[in-house]
Assembly symmetry: C2
Homo-oligomer: 547 residues x 2
């Protein structure tokens, strides 16, 4: 028999000729399709629960068609910006489908920001419409006062001449059979999300229809959303469009439960009463649940899958919550990656670990989501991947269809973020042999002392174990001898007896290599951003000025 | 406040300028990526189980890289055809990733077909390589004997000079670090799957990388595949590329369990020993499980989700299997739709139904999969959707990214199948108020027996060659075991000696694949219309009533 293949086909184009894209087999990917399909497939299923209100998929679809047509009637066209300032209410879900139906761009605004920053976003994003929930009307008014050419204001739940066009009036006047067109091309812009930079103006990350559709499916597959899932909105929908969960829930046919205020009693009540199976949040949400007083807790029979991002959950939190019936998955992502990019999925060898060892594993940032092309950890000097040895530190980089298109009107920042075929996160991590990544520091927070790299995060973790410490932040302090030394800022627990600096240093010495031990220790409240992030740049200034 | 938005942005291109596709945020969708990601994310997890053999995701990835590089070394390039004739073995999974890595086209062949049809496919698809499992070597040899320019034969599990290049030798000689390129564009052709047409030669349905990637995610979301799922291969992988499950399982990080022969004892053993959670198949597979003798059954604690397509499962089958711990989902699809296009997902009102009423609902073809754009039922005369009244009959049409590119080298058939923005299935159904579709008849005279499509016209053509036969009509006869079986009605030539039914069956066996041979043969004058057209609906009634 011959051991080489026969010559290649005489017709190299046979697999393309007559097999072009057609309306039957090619449709631009868009989250709007996911809702249309859900409404057609299980219109009677409950899509959104808000207090006593139940919105079926059919009703949600109809309301979105009405809203889209009403906005079109007001002159909103493809690639116009529609901003929204709202909590986790049904209208926020609706905006995530109605605006894409028009091919317009949704700009969810962070309700915790100051009026000037809101005004900046509205101006920079060129918003033609601002949808405002009554609870945030005062903030909106102050922001709008700063604009020369304010957008059309649409008001949710607020009456009065001055409130703007009532949202429900738009819905009522809209066309329930509106034939939406969506994007012309799936690469078109879908969402605009401003990230709170530590310095300078916010940057507006732009999502595409394609990316959001894929991230929706990736979330559903990776976190196990199904038609039987009930998702509780403990995560703000204005953060990376709720990590793309408004779309992911609809792709899976799950039910979304609104939550206006993150309070443990209400969280437990909703979990018990609606059979919640999934929630997401920052560590503070988990902390709130884990430390809820007994009278606010409720028992529930189901397992609640809980995805946490922003910082690794502690052993204490994981243990407490697992005992309550939660199942924690630590994940990692950014506004630039449509929310979750990696998740700390279980590895086969976890089953042989002690609980304590497993908790440590669970604190890693983990591995790529189903729809992310790749994650790598690269040496900042050479740009080459570091070895998967769990010790060499490099920068986390991400690549794939669920990475933003770039920053609006900011080619410089876009170019820096997306150079060389990867999105450079700026976060420093090690790469473990099992493929998971673990953040050791944000790139600006690495402390280099006497030629040794010190992870401020690692020092902070140790400090957090001190019984008197509630929050710890460690930054570099310039040092004549060592180049830099670690300087610790500590916020004490209420009612705790303040230890002396020497006691804290002694505590550290017992628990880490000597060069990592803070040389200075300062007690006091830590400066934070509106989203609760510690402002390390302020601390660096303070550290520099310490005598 | 103004009740119109301000003028549109002065810069209508602001959402595109500087936000073009880049390597960091745009990657052609391809199933090959799913394996690369799985290997990077959980390389130690078991991807494939075959008897005593365990292949981890890392090992599967490495084997695919080796195979792809070895094929490239033999001169296989983008859009070359690589055919495979094999059962549900690990190599079949490997081919579904290694060939796409090259951007080449995989052509899985149905091992139940006759040599002439296999030869037709190899010639029509212009196969440069044929991978053959030893168990099917004789069939391959007879098919190859008909070819003027045979492909390079790669042999799985067969020794000897004449067997072709040993598969394992290719793997051993391959490069485990091969940098695959995949498709240049996600619309490029990925798979070629021949379907038995109603008349004439088989048609080769062509899949794209994009479609397969999306169908993989759609399957995973719709049928609840996760990293904890264990999928049993009761469905032949040569059917629509295993309904896209080789890719769906990898997207979810599930374990695939091979099964060479569909036998109840082995199915139960694997379900019990490996904790199988999912399987797919034709009604014959369910029937086999439901009717397994007691000594072949095994108890198992988990729920096994069981997707069935080809014909509706009966009430008896559903009840028996639910009692055993299975959970049935009826689905519907075609080679042209990458396998499942619709699934009969639970509707909220099912909870109020009696078991018997629920079984009837479960027998519907159901609603669109998560990644299908839309399903409709259209009036054959007007082309307009029929009302959703559960009684008006129309043709099922499908639209979306998971519809084939078309038929290879057959623009006429492609044009007919994909005209007017929809894939016309040829199946006649009603549309229910809840959005689900239910097939009432097949318009193209297709008989589905044990999951295999049989063209009644093809069987009739063979019967007409019998010297005693003047007219032949073949229709489906309902069958508890096979779903349907072909039933032949024959009108003899005047003065001809009537052959026995057994003689006719023997005549057919020599001329067609065994599954196509009529199980019942009836002689007599055929009912005709005034214009002489055979009234098949009358024959279908007769067939139903045969004892």
């Amino acid at each position: 028999m011959p051991d080489t293949p026969p010559p290649a086909s005489a017709d190299p184009h046979r697999f393309e000729a007559g097999l072009e894209k057609r309306a039957a087999n090619y449709v631009p990917l868009t989250p709007a399709s996911l809702l249309a399909r859900a409404a057609a497939a299980f219109g009677a299923r409950v899509a959104v629960i808000d207090g006593e209100r139940r919105i079926t998929y059919a009703a949600l679809h109809e309301r979105c068609l009405r809203l889209a047509s009403a906005l079109a009637g007001r002159g909103i066209r493809r690639l116009d910006t529609v901003a929204i300032l709202a909590s986790n209410i049904p209208e926020m879900v609706e905006a995530h489908f109605a605006v894409p139906m028009l091919g317009a761009v949704l700009n969810p605004l962070n309700t915790r920001l100051d009026p000037a920053t809101i005004a900046f976003s509205l101006r920079h994003g060129d918003a033609r419409v601002l949808i405002v929930e009554a609870a945030h009307a005062a903030l909106a008014a102050r922001a709008l006062a700063e604009l020369e050419q304010p957008p059309l204001v649409v008001s949710i739940g607020q009456a009065g001449q001055d409130a703007g066009v009532p949202y429900e009036a738009l819905i009522e006047g809209g066309d329930p059979a509106y034939a939406w067109k969506g994007p012309e091309d799936e690469w078109q812009s879908l969402c605009l999300l401003y990230t709170s930079g530590t310095t300078g103006d916010p940057k507006g990350a732009v999502y595409s229809h394609r990316g959001a559709y894929l991230q929706a499916l990736g979330n559903a597959v990776t976190f196990g959303l199904s038609g039987e899932s009930v998702y509780l909105w403990t995560l703000p929908m204005f953060h990376c469009s709720g990590w793309s969960y408004p779309w992911a829930c609809v792709a899976a046919g799950a039910t979304q439960v609104c939550l206006r205020k993150v309070e443990p009693a209400e969280i437990f009540r909703l979990i018990a009463e609606h059979g919640v199976t999934h929630l997401c949040g920052a560590p503070i949400v988990l902390s709130m649940i884990a430390h809820a007083p007994a009278h606010e807790r409720r028992d529930f029979p189901q397992v609640v899958r809980c995805a946490v991002g922003g910082a690794a959950p502690s052993s204490t939190i994981i243990r407490t919550m697992e005992e309550m019936g939660f199942r924690i998955t630590h994940l990692y992502g950014a506004t630039e990656s449509y929310g979750p990019a990696t998740a700390c999925l279980a590895q086969p060898d976890w089953q042989d670990l002690s609980d304590e060892a497993r908790y440590q594993r669970m604190a890693r940032q983990g591995v790529a989501l189903a729809t992310l092309e790749a994650v790598t950890v690269t040496d900042p000097e050479t740009g080459e991947p570091v070895p998967r040895d769990g010790s060499r530190i490099g920068e986390i980089r991400l690549r794939g269809n669920t990475i933003m298109k770039g920053y609006l009107g900011n080619p410089g920042a876009t170019g820096r973020a997306l150079a060389d075929g990867w999105y450079a996160t700026g976060d420093l991590a090690v790469w473990h042999p099992d493929g998971s990544v673990e953040i050791k520091d944000r790139s600006k927070d690495i402390i280099i002392s006497g030629g040794e790299n010190i992870s401020s995060l690692e020092v902070e973790e140790v400090l957090m174990r001190h019984p008197a410490v509630m929050l710890a932040a460690v930054v570099a302090r310039p040092d004549e001898t060592w180049g830099e030394t670690p300087c610790a800022f500590l916020e004490a627990k209420p009612d705790a007896t303040l230890p002396s600096a020497d006691e804290v240093i002694a505590f550290c010495r017992e628990r880490m290599a000597r060069f990592k031990v803070p040389k200075r220790v300062v007690f006091g409240p830590l400066p934070k951003t509106s989203t609760g992030k510690i402002q390390k740049f302020v601390l660096r200034e303070l550290a520099r000025e310490l005598g």
